[in-house]
C-alpha cells in the first residue's frame, strides 16, 4: 500500500525549507521525505543504507529532483530510476534553478515527467509547488506498479 510520500531530493537547506513552506502553503498533506543528495535518494528508493528495512514496494507518489546535487547529480539519479524495473514508472519532476537548454533536453531524454524552474519570487514558487501537488497528487492518475513489484 503506497503511503503517498513526496520524495524531495535537495541539498540546499534553504531550498528544502522554502519547498516545505511551499508545500505547507499549498495545503498539501502528504508526507515529505527529504534526501540531501542523489545517493541518499537512491538508498531511500531501493531501501539501502540508512533506509534498509523500508518496504521497497512503498514507492513515493512523486519525486521532486534537483539537478545540482553532491556525489551523484539529479540526472544520474533519474537514469537509475528509469533503468531499474521497480522504479521505471515513478513520476519524477525536475525542480531546479536553471533553465539551461542542455539540462532541459537531457532531463526529458532520460524520461523526466516534468521540468519546473524554481522562480526567485517566493509567491510564484509557492504557486508552482501548489500546482505541482494539485496536478501530481490529485489530478494525475498514478502509474500501475511494475510487474513483479507487487507484494
Amino acid at each position: 500500500m503506497a503511503s503517498g510520500v513526496i520524495l524531495l531530493v535537495e541539498d540546499n537547506p534553504d531550498d528544502v525549507e522554502l519547498t516545505l513552506r511551499g508545500v505547507l502553503h499549498g495545503r498539501i498533506s502528504n508526507e515529505v521525505v527529504v534526501t540531501r543528495d542523489g545517493q541518499e535518494a537512491l538508498d531511500y528508493l531501493f531501501c539501502r543504507g540508512d533506509w534498509t528495512g523500508r518496504n521497497a514496494h512503498d514507492l513515493p507518489a512523486i519525486v521532486l529532483l534537483d539537478i545540482h546535487l553532491p556525489r551523484m547529480n539529479g540526472l544520474e539519479v533519474l537514469r537509475h530510476i528509469r533503468t531499474d524495473e521497480r522504479t521505471s514508472r515513478l513520476p519524477v519532476v525536475m525542480l531546479t534553478s536553471s533553465n539551461e537548454e542542455r539540462d532541459l533536453a537531457e532531463s526529458y531524454d532520460l524520461g523526466a515527467n516534468s521540468f519546473v524552474r524554481k522562480p526567485v519570487d517566493f509567491d510564484q514558487f509557492a504557486a508552482a509547488v501548489h500546482q505541482l501537488g494539485l496536478y501530481w497528487l490529485v489530478i494525475n492518475e498514478p502509474p500501475p506498479p511494475t510487474r513483479g513489484v507487487r507484494p
Binding site: 534553504d14 522554502l18 534553478s97 539551461e100 524554481k118 522562480p119 514558487f125
Partner: protein, 817 residues
C-alpha cells in the same frame, strides 16, 4: 550411112583403084619411072584416057547403083509401117526422159480389191532416180520393191485405174527419204503409169529460201533498230537522258517477241524503261555500257512470258549481238558527248578565266582580251584593236625577240598584277597572262609587319628570352638574356649551347627535356625552375617557360631570375609557419576560455539564483510569520529586499540570454517573421488583456534566419514597443518592411510610445544602458543589446530613430546573410 551411098562410094573407089593399079604396072612392069610420077604426072595419054574412062564408068555405075539402092530403101519405108517409126519416136522419148517412168499393173485379191501393184516396165531415169536396175524392178511387186508393208500410194493408184483421171501429187516417201512429184494415169492396157520426178533438192531449196526470207525479216528488224539507235544517238541537239529514253523505246519492238518484251537502260544513277510492264520477267539478256574502259551502265531486254527456245534460249544469237551493239553505240554516244562537253569547256577556258588573258601582236596591237583583261585595258585607256599600254610594249617586244617568257609587275589603282608574257613567235604574237597578286603583296607586307612586331615583343618580353635550335645552340637571344648570361649577344648567338649555361647537376634532366620536346609523341614540361650558371660562373635560380615554335625544330625559352623571390619565399614560409602555430595556440586558448565562460554562465544560472531565492523566500517568511512584530517601515524594507532580489533574478536571466546569443550554434531556416510576431503579440495580449493596442503586422515577411535567435530579438523589440506604449490611450505598434536604396528589405518595428532622445541613440544598444527610470518603465537594459547581437550574428545591422513623447522606430536588415 545409107546403103545406097555406100554402094556408090564403093564403085567409085574401084575406079580409083584401077588408076592406082595401072600406075603401079606402068612403074614396075614397064619401068617407066617412079610410082608417083606414073600416078599423076608422067602419064601416057593412052593410059590417061583409059584410066579416065574406067574412072568415069565406075562413077556412073556407082551413081546408078546408089539411085537404085535409094529407091529400094524408100520402098522399105513405105512398106515398113509408119507405126514402127512412131513407136521408135516414143521409145526414144521414153528412154531419154528426165522424169522416171514406170508402168504398173494392179494386183487384186479374190474379191477384186487392189492389194498391190506390179512393175511392168521402167525407163533408165527410173533406174537413175531410185538407184534400182531395171532388171531388179520389172516384174516385182511395189510392196517388196519399196520395202513397205503396203505398196506406196496404192489407194491413189487404184483410184486412178478406176476413174481414169490423171492425178498429180507431191509426196514424201519415208522409205526412200525422198520427195517426189508424181503424175499417174491409166494405161490402155488397164494398168497405170507413173511419171515422177525427185523434188527433194527443190523442196530443200524452197525451205532454205523460206528460212532465208524469215532471217532476212529479222535482219531488217535489227538493221532498223540499229538505224534508229544510230539516228537517235547522232542527234546532238538533245539531252543524253532524252536520247537514252528514246533508245529504250526502240528496243522492245526490235526483239523477236515485242509483245512480251521490256527494255531497260541503267546509266549512272538514272533508269530508262520501255515495253511491257505486265507479268514477271522470265528471261533477260543484257550488255554493259562501257565508257573509256569503265562500266557506267547496262542495257537489258527482258521477256515477261515463256516462249519456245530457239538458237539456245528464248533470245536469238543475233539479238545478243544487237544488244551488245546498242550498248556500244550508247557508250560511244556518252563518250562523244563528254568529249564534246570537255572540248566546249576547254574552249571557254580563257574567256572564263577570272584573271586577265590577252593576246598582242608584235607591233603591240591587242587582238584578243577576255573579260578581265578587257576591264583592265579599259582602265589603262586601251582595248582590243588598239595598242597595248606603253609600258607593256617593251617586255612584249623582248619576249618576242628572245622567244622566252617575260614577267612584269604593274600596279593599277591599288591592284597589283604580275603579267607573264608568253611569246608565240611563229605566229607573230604574244599571249599575256595576268595574275592578281594584290592580296599576296598585302599579306607579305602584313607578314613583314608581324615579323617586326614579334621582334619588338621578343626584345621587350621583360624576361631573358632566347631561341634554341634542334642541336641545342642558342640561335637568337634578346638583351635580357645577354644580361642574365653575362655575355654579349655576339658571343651567344649561334655559338653558345644552352646546356652550357645550366648547372652540371641540371644538365642531364634538361638535355632529356630538350630532345623529348622535339618528338611529337612525348610531352616535356613547359614550365620549371633550374639553376642557371652565367659566364662568370655565378649560379642564379631561374624560372623558365619554354615551348616549341609550331612547325619548327626551334624552341623559345623565357627565363626569369627568381633567386631573390625564392629567398623571400623561404623566409615567408618560415614566418607563415610560425604564424600558423601562433594562431593554433590562440585558438586553443580561446576555446578553453570559451569553455570556461560557458561553465561560468552555467554556474551563474544555477548558483547565483539560489541565494536570491533564499533572500526573497525568507523575507516573505518573515513577513508572513512575524507580521505582528514589524511596523510598516520594517515591512516596507522587506518588500524592497524582495523586489531587489527579483530584479537581480531578471538581470541574471537577461545576462545569461545575452551570453547565450553569442554562444549557440546558428541553425538557418526559412522563418515567417509575420507569423512569429503575431504569436508574440498574442502572448503579450494574454498577459495584459486589459490594454487596447492597435497592432499592424505586414504579411509574409519571410527571411532565412535562426528561428530561436530571431524570436529572442523580436520578443525584445515587440516587448519594448508594448512596454513603452503602456501610457498611451491609443497605442499603436507596427511591424513592416520597406526596401532600402539597394532594394534590400529593411524591417522596422515602430510605436507611438514614450520615444527617446536621439542624442542617446548610440547608447541604446549597449548592455545595461537605460534611458528611462526603472519606476517609469521596468527593465534590465540588456534587451536591445541582445537584439543587436542577434542581428549581427545574421550579418545584418540594427538602428533606431525616435523622439521623446512621439514614439520610436527600430530598424534591422539581414544584408550579408
Amino acid at each position: 550411112m545409107r546403103p545406097s551411098r555406100i554402094v556408090a562410094i564403093y564403085v567409085l573407089l574401084v575406079g580409083v583403084l584401077f588408076w592406082v593399079l595401072d600406075a603401079a604396072v606402068e612403074s614396075v612392069v614397064m619401068g617407066r619411072g617412079s610410082f608417083l610420077s606414073t600416078l599423076l604426072t608422067d602419064i601416057d595419054p593412052h593410059d590417061l584416057w583409059m584410066r579416065a574412062t574406067v574412072l568415069a564408068l565406075c562413077g556412073l555405075l556407082g551413081g546408078l547403083l546408089a539411085w537404085h539402092m535409094r529407091r529400094w530403101e524408100q520402098g522399105l519405108k513405105v512398106t515398113g509401117e509408119l507405126l514402127r517409126e512412131s513407136e521408135e519416136r516414143y521409145r526414144g522419148l521414153y528412154e531419154s526422159m528426165s522424169e522416171g517412168v514406170a508402168f504398173h499393173e494392179l494386183v487384186h485379191d479374190g474379191d477384186g480389191a487392189a492389194i498391190d501393184y506390179r512393175i511392168v516396165d521402167v525407163n533408165p531415169t527410173f533406174e537413175t532416180i531410185l538407184g534400182i536396175p531395171r532388171g531388179n524392178a520389172v516384174g516385182r511387186l511395189g510392196s517388196e520393191l519399196y520395202g513397205a508393208d503396203e505398196a506406196p500410194l496404192l489407194d491413189v493408184y487404184a483410184e486412178v485405174v478406176t476413174s481414169g483421171r490423171l492425178t498429180t501429187l507431191e509426196t514424201y516417201q519415208e522409205a526412200l527419204d525422198r520427195d517426189f512429184h508424181i503424175s499417174a494415169f491409166r494405161t490402155p492396157a488397164g494398168g497405170f503409169a507413173t511419171v515422177f520426178e525427185d523434188i527433194s533438192d527443190r523442196r530443200r531449196a524452197e525451205e532454205e529460201l523460206l528460212q532465208r526470207t524469215h532471217d532476212l525479216g529479222k535482219r531488217v528488224k535489227e538493221i532498223r533498230c540499229l538505224y534508229q539507235v544510230a539516228r537517235l544517238s547522232g542527234d546532238h541537239g538533245r539531252t543524253l537522258n532524252d536520247v537514252l529514253q528514246d533508245i529504250a523505246d526502240v528496243l522492245p519492238v526490235s526483239w523477236q517477241w515485242p509483245e512480251i518484251a521490256s527494255a531497260q537502260i541503267e546509266f549512272s544513277d538514272a533508269l530508262f524503261q520501255a515495253g511491257t510492264t505486265e507479268g514477271v520477267p522470265v528471261a533477260a539478256q543484257s550488255a554493259e555500257i562501257v565508257v573509256r574502259g569503265e562500266t557506267v551502265g547496262r542495257v537489258t531486254v527482258r521477256y515477261h512470258a515463256e516462249r519456245a527456245e530457239e538458237d539456245g534460249g528464248p533470245f536469238l544469237t543475233e539479238e545478243q549481238d544487237l544488244i551488245d551493239t546498242v550498248a556500244r553505240v550508247i557508250g560511244d554516244t556518252v563518250e562523244h558527248q563528254q568529249a564534246e562537253a570537255e572540248r566546249e569547256s576547254l574552249a571557254r577556258f580563257p574567256s572564263e578565266n577570272p584573271s586577265p588573258v590577252l593576246r598582242a601582236r608584235e607591233d603591240g596591237a591587242v587582238v584578243y582580251a577576255n573579260a578581265a583583261a578587257a576591264a583592265l585595258l579599259h582602265k589603262l585607256g586601251s582595248g582590243v584593236g588598239r595598242p597595248a599600254p606603253t609600258e607593256w610594249l617593251e617586255p612584249v617586244g623582248k619576249a618576242m625577240r628572245s622567244g622566252t617568257l617575260r614577267r612584269i609587275e604593274v600596279t593599277i589603282a591599288h591592284q597589283t598584277l604580275i603579267l607573264n608574257v608568253a611569246p608565240v613567235s611563229k605566229q607573230g604574237y604574244a599571249t599575256i597572262y595576268g595574275m592578281d597578286v594584290t592580296e599576296r603583296r598585302a599579306a607579305e607586307r602584313a607578314l613583314l609587319e608581324i615579323e617586326q612586331r614579334y621582334r619588338t615583343v621578343f626584345e621587350n618580353t621583360g624576361a631573358a628570352t632566347c631561341l634554341i635550335g634542334a642541336e641545342g645552340t642558342i640561335i637568337l637571344a634578346n638583351e635580357g638574356f645577354a644580361q642574365l648570361a653575362s655575355a654579349s649577344r655576339e658571343e651567344i648567338e649561334g655559338k653558345l649551347a644552352f646546356l652550357g649555361l645550366c648547372a652540371p647537376h641540371e644538365q642531364e634532366r634538361l638535355a632529356a627535356y630538350h630532345y623529348s620536346r622535339r618528338k611529337p609523341e612525348i610531352d616535356a614540361p613547359k614550365r620549371y625552375e633550374f639553376d642557371f650558371v652565367n659566364r662568370d660562373g655565378e649560379v642564379r635560380r631561374v624560372f623558365m617557360h619554354i615551348d616549341m615554335i609550331l612547325g619548327t625544330q626551334t624552341s623559345v625559352a623565357s627565363l626569369v631570375d627568381v633567386t631573390e623571390l625564392r629567398r623571400t619565399q623561404t623566409e615567408l614560409q618560415a614566418l607563415t609557419e610560425e604564424l600558423e602555430e601562433r594562431v593554433q595556440r590562440r585558438t586553443t586558448e580561446l576555446r578553453a576560455a570559451n569553455e570556461e565562460l560557458e561553465a561560468f554562465a552555467y554556474s551563474i544560472s544555477h548558483d547565483l539564483r539560489a541565494p536570491l531565492r533564499s533572500i526573497d523566500g525568507f523575507s516573505k517568511a518573515v513577513l508572513d510569520d512575524y507580521a505582528e512584530c514589524l511596523d510598516e517601515t520594517g515591512k516596507s524594507h522587506l518588500d524592497r529586499v524582495r523586489l531587489a532580489s527579483q530584479r537581480m533574478g531578471d538581470l541574471i536571466d537577461d545576462i545569461l540570454q545575452l551570453s547565450k546569443i553569442t554562444r549557440v550554434e546558428m541553425r538557418v531556416d526559412r522563418v515567417d517573421m509575420s507569423a512569429l510576431a503575431l504569436e508574440i503579440i498574442e502572448e503579450l495580449r494574454a498577459v495584459e488583456p486589459e490594454r487596447s493596442v492597435e497592432v499592424v503586422i505586414e504579411a509574409d515577411m519571410i527571411v532565412d534566419a535562426d528561428r530561436r535567435l530571431l524570436e529572442v530579438a523580436l520578443r525584445n523589440l515587440l516587448g519594448n514597443a508594448w512596454k513603452f506604449t503602456g501610457r498611451r490611450e491609443q497605442a499603436r505598434i507596427e511591424f513592416a518592411s520597406k526596401p532600402d536604396e539597394d532594394g534590400r528589405a529593411v524591417y522596422c518595428v515602430t510605436d507611438n510610445g514614450a520615444g527617446f532622445d536621439m542624442a542617446y541613440a548610440d547608447k541604446l544598444f549597449q548592455p545595461f544602458q537605460r534611458l528611462h527610470r526603472i519606476d517609469e518603465f521596468p527593465g534590465t537594459g540588456v534587451g536591445l543589446a541582445t537584439v543587436r547581437r542577434v542581428i549581427r550574428r545574421h550579418g545584418g545591422d540594427v538602428w533606431a530613430e525616435g523622439e521623446v513623447g512621439k514614439g520610436a522606430g527600430f530598424y534591422f536588415s539581414f544584408h550579408d546573410l
